[in-house]
């Protein structure tokens, strides 16, 4: 392992291929294309074997050669290796042979897949000498930055739109983060945060640290493959906000194949959005290779990005893997959250309802064949979006503390068929 850079080689522009040093920088100076981490796969192949992985702790860092840090992880050492649940009851309902839920609703410490990307970004930020980290977020990312920064002893700034719900604000304030609410339209808040990131020289996780941050998502793909017994599934259904997770799951599967850890497999990576914010899904269905920006209006707030940064690349991956995108309405999202909870005992946030709902559509339409295997990615916990299902799950039936009254209730319900 190189003393300075671990298994990383350089930052590389996704558009023109120009290389840059492994610093906190994110766009190519020439064409402003996004930068991505390039690795030395020859050296990784010698170090990262199935046996080596099996001997390591069950966290996402068991694949550390493929994650962009130079030394050992220092932030979020317990993150990842979430359960891959064989979902037989849900499979039966959806009419598919083999179905799994990759359950990041129980990721450590803040119950969403964001802990993966944040622990990578903050570990790298510490290596690069940063003492202050920051992000702009409407929910999961803010919680994860606040919690992981607190445990690492880093100072954190979290920027939020001023109209955010109280519950979400508390989830960041509790960790002692500096929470700054910005009044204004989404576009204005977005531009201000880009400017703040440029001026203050902090580690802004999804701005100047983005090349490192985004790579953390690949760990979900490695875990899926290992938990399936070092195989790739026929189909993976991924929620799309910026589209980054979908492209990184693809990169993760490709890397495992390149390293010989899994056999080459014709795997399809499908994208899921909410109808109220579906720029990528609409473009995929129309056969376009670009998206048109939209103004989000959906209960799936964690996916509500109207101008998705990686939309173009997500469309490319879906084309290359012969996959589809689809979207579901708010009512379909709630129904899917309930279906997942009632069949598998997993309470997902709205984004999970989106992926389950879209999986249901793709299976029903034959785009995902009934005799195949599929993995549905659930990226956040339902406890975070209680408002979305409040009033849609029925009510408790109230009785007096009397056995006779309880028996009468049961008899009544039997009669009316509850």
């Amino acid at each position: 392992m190189s003393e300075q850079h671990g298994f990383m080689k350089a930052l590389k522009c996704r558009e023109c291929g120009r290389e840059y040093p492994l610093t906190a920088t994110h766009v190519c100076e020439f064409d402003f294309g996004p930068l991505e981490v390039a690795y030395d796969y020859e050296r990784i192949k010698k170090s990262l074997t199935r046996e080596a992985i099996a001997s390591r702790p069950k966290t996402m860092w068991r694949y550390r050669e493929l994650l962009p840090i130079a030394g050992e992880p220092t932030v979020g050492k317990q993150v990842g290796f979430t359960p891959l649940v064989k979902a037989d009851r849900l499979a039966k309902k959806l009419g598919i042979r083999e179905l799994y839920i990759k359950n990041d609703a129980v990721n450590y410490p803040t119950l969403s897949f964001k802990d993966r990307v944040v622990s990578v970004a903050l570990s790298r930020a510490k290596e690069l000498g940063f003492e202050t980290v920051a992000c702009a977020s409407t929910g999961n990312l803010a919680n994860s930055v606040a919690a992981n920064a607190a445990s690492a002893g880093l100072k954190s700034y979290v920027f939020i739109p001023s109209d955010l719900e109280q519950g979400k604000i508390l989830n960041s304030l509790i960790y002692g983060a500096n929470v700054i609410a910005i009044k204004g339209h989404y576009d204005e808040v977005n531009r201000l945060c880009a400017e703040i990131a440029g001026k203050f020289g902090w580690a802004f996780v999804n701005v100047n640290m983005r090349p490192y941050y985004a790579e953390g998502s690949k760990s979900m793909a490695y875990e899926i493959a290992e938990q399936l017994g070092w195989k790739l599934p026929d189909h993976t259904i991924v929620p799309m906000a910026s589209g980054s997770l979908l492209t990184k799951i693809h990169k993760g599967y490709q890397e495992l194949t390149k390293l010989g850890l899994v056999s080459a497999h014709n795997t399809h990576i499908h994208g899921a959005q909410a109808t109220g914010c579906s720029p990528i899904s609409v473009a995929q269905k129309a056969g376009l290779d670009f998206f048109k920006p939209v103004k989000p209006d959906t209960i799936a707030k964690s996916l509500a990005i109207g101008t998705p940064a990686d939309g173009f690349y997500a469309l490319k991956v879906m084309r290359e893997t012969a996959a589809y995108a689809d979207d579901v309405s708010d009512d379909e999202i709630r129904d899917a959250i309930k279906l997942l909870a009632e069949t598998e005992g997993i309470f997902a946030e709205t984004a999970g309802g989106v992926t389950v709902g879209v999986a249901k559509k793709l299976i029903a339409s034959g785009k995902i064949p009934k005799d195949s295997s599929a993995v549905i990615c659930v990226t956040g916990n339902g406890l975070k979006t209680l408002d979305a299902v409040n009033g849609y799950c029925g009510k408790p039936r109230e009785i007096k503390p009397s056995l006779r009254e309880f028996e009468a209730l049961l008899a009544h319900e039997e009669k009316v068929g509850v």
Binding site: H26, T138, A197, F290, I305, T307, A309
Partner: protein
């Protein structure tokens, strides 16, 4: 103890450089917005990437000039229904 870094307050006429994606809806694709921005405001426009189809016009533009002029140029573009995002796009995540 390390000396505390002093925050320098940005003045309205301080020179800034902003890197932006402009997205034009189809009916505005033929409009010479970038030329107009260069004339109406004291900003230097520098196109770094562009893709124009029947469906959408996308331009990656660098704007250089006094802060207040750059801000006014962005406001004017938005008033004309051009979508303006920082080159980072989607800084606010879920």
């Amino acid at each position: 103890m390390a000396a505390k870094k002093k925050i320098i307050v940005t003045k309205p006429n301080a020179p800034v450089q902003q890197r932006l994606w402009l997205m034009y809806p189809p009916k505005l694709i033929k409009k010479p917005f970038i030329y107009e921005v260069g004339h109406k405001f004291k900003v230097v426009t520098n196109i770094r990437q562009a893709s124009v189809t029947d469906e959408i016009g996308i331009v990656c533009l660098e704007l250089d000039g006094p802060r207040s002029e750059v801000a006014a140029a962005i406001k004017w573009l938005e008033k004309n229904k051009v979508n303006v995002e920082p080159v980072e796009i989607g800084v606010i995540a879920g």
